[in-house]
């Protein structure tokens, strides 16, 4: 029987498959382990994004007020994203803290639609790094002023690649000008038009709270109330529930809103986990019932 030359091709491909299967096997093991860790984890951070011209130090007093009334303190991790996309960290997440606060700030924190788009991209870089370093399968989002716009843009353009494994449970925006500084809803900015055009990309199981400050009857000093109210064209009938609230009184102007007592209470009531929530990991399937 003559030697079959095809035999050598078959053996070569077999060797090639085995050669490629070895790194494939170790990648697969690592990826499945990370997936299992993520599903088991009870970590559920709150990720906060400040507004224009604000830094990662913006929410310091807010965190202090949140921590002053509770027994378990939230630890704070601050991430600053430079214009080149490199991350610098300060602070740390405590080992036993299941609800840490992560503040993401940007070196370029200027106003304007084009900057919002860039900032959403930087937010995504920080978010991706967070998903690689910490295992969590759900989180809450908070945005003050332009931070809410950045979250909305991120939800419409970047969230879908995470949606299978990581769920955004609640989003709270504080004084977010969905129509920038335009106080007449008949004139819609380009950003508002784009948000409305892509509103079907918003997750259907998200709970959204939009807080607005009221100093005069028209605005909170900087952002017109009509602009914050424009959020209804984006979120209403798209997400699971959309609740709009107006906060007035002392410290209800735009820059003081994060320190407002009512806002702190609303964050505690709606954004953070309830006190008696069962945060234990799900029971393993093969553990015997006792």
């Amino acid at each position: 029987m003559s030697k079959n030359p095809n035999l050598k091709w078959l053996i070569l491909t077999l060797l090639l498959v085995i050669l490629l299967a070895i790194p494939g096997y170790s990648w697969m093991k690592k990826d499945n382990w990370a997936r299992a860790q993520r599903q088991k984890s009870v970590l559920s951070p709150v990720i906060m994004v400040p507004g224009s011209s604000a830094t990662t130090e913006r929410f310091n007093q807010l965190v202090r007020q949140l921590n002053s009334k509770t027994a378990t303190k939230h630890s704070v991790l601050k991430i600053k994203v430079s214009t080149k996309g490199t991350l610098s960290y300060s602070g740390a997440i405590d080992k036993d803290d299941n609800e840490p606060i992560i503040v993401v700030g940007f070196q370029n924190n200027h106003d304007g639609y084009s900057n919002i788009k860039k900032q959403a991209g930087w937010l995504d870089q920080a978010f991706y790094t967070l998903t690689q370093n910490y295992h969590f399968n759900n989180f809450k989002a908070f945005g003050h002023s332009n931070g809410g716009l950045i979250w909305t843009y991120w939800l419409e353009h970047y969230y879908s690649s995470y949606a299978n494994e990581i769920k955004m449970k609640r989003l709270m925006t504080l004084g977010t000008p969905y129509n920038f500084s335009e106080s007449n809803l008949k004139y819609r900015t380009q950003m508002l038009e784009d948000f409305i055009k892509n509103k079907n990309k918003l997750p259907k199981n998200l709970v959204v709270y939009s807080l607005s400050g009221g100093k005069s009857y028209e605005s909170d000093g900087i952002v017109p109330e009509a602009s914050v109210a424009a959020g209804k064209y984006i979120f209403q009938n798209q997400v699971k529930s959309y609740t709009a609230m107006t906060v007035t009184g002392s410290e209800a102007d735009h820059s003081d809103l994060p320190q407002n007592e009512q806002v702190v209470r609303l964050i505690k009531q709606y954004l953070l986990e309830k006190k008696n929530k069962n945060l234990r990991p799900p029971r393993q399937a093969n553990k015997k019932r006792q």
Binding site: N4, N6, L7, W9, L10, T13, L16, V17, G24, M28
Partner: protein, 142 residues
């Protein structure tokens, strides 16, 4: 796990039992794509799609594979594949990777692959006989 290895089985048979030069060339070119699970070049080139001799086995054999695999899962011989597998993973390795590296799955896939080869041998020879008959009839008509 079902249809993943039947294309490869046919290629192996064609390459080892060298009868038809044309088929052998098609099989040689398509060897690498089919190994990594892109069967379409082979299915259009053979042709398999509307070829009554080859089309039916290409449907029946994966069904048999799936039935055997589900029986094996029900009997707890092999683990079900719940983990995501990258597109382009070789057909035989899909069930191995999908069950997070369960070696019994790998052995079972290889056994199914050998079974596919055994089931395709009579069909391959039937196909060759029909083609030879068609060619003879063409020559007679000329």
């Amino acid at each position: 796990m079902g249809g993943a290895s039947v294309g490869l089985a046919l290629i192996v048979i064609i390459l080892l039992v060298r009868e038809n030069k044309q088929n052998e060339n098609i099989a040689k070119i398509n060897l690498l794509p089919v190994v990594f699970n892109s069967n379409w070049g082979f299915m259009v080139g053979m042709p398999i799609i509307l070829n009554p001799v080859l089309f039916l086995p290409f449907i029946i054999i994966p069904v048999v594979n799936v039935l055997l695999a589900s029986a094996a899962i029900a009997l707890h011989i092999i683990a079900p594949c719940v983990y995501p597998v990258l597109r382009g993973t070789p057909g035989i390795l899909i069930s191995f990777f999908g069950s997070n590296g369960n070696w019994v799955n790998l052995v079972f896939s290889i056994l199914l692959f050998i079974l596919d080869i055994v089931m395709l041998i009579p069909i391959g020879s039937l196909g060759q006989r029909i083609e030879k008959g068609l060619r003879e009839r063409e020559q007679k008509n000329e």
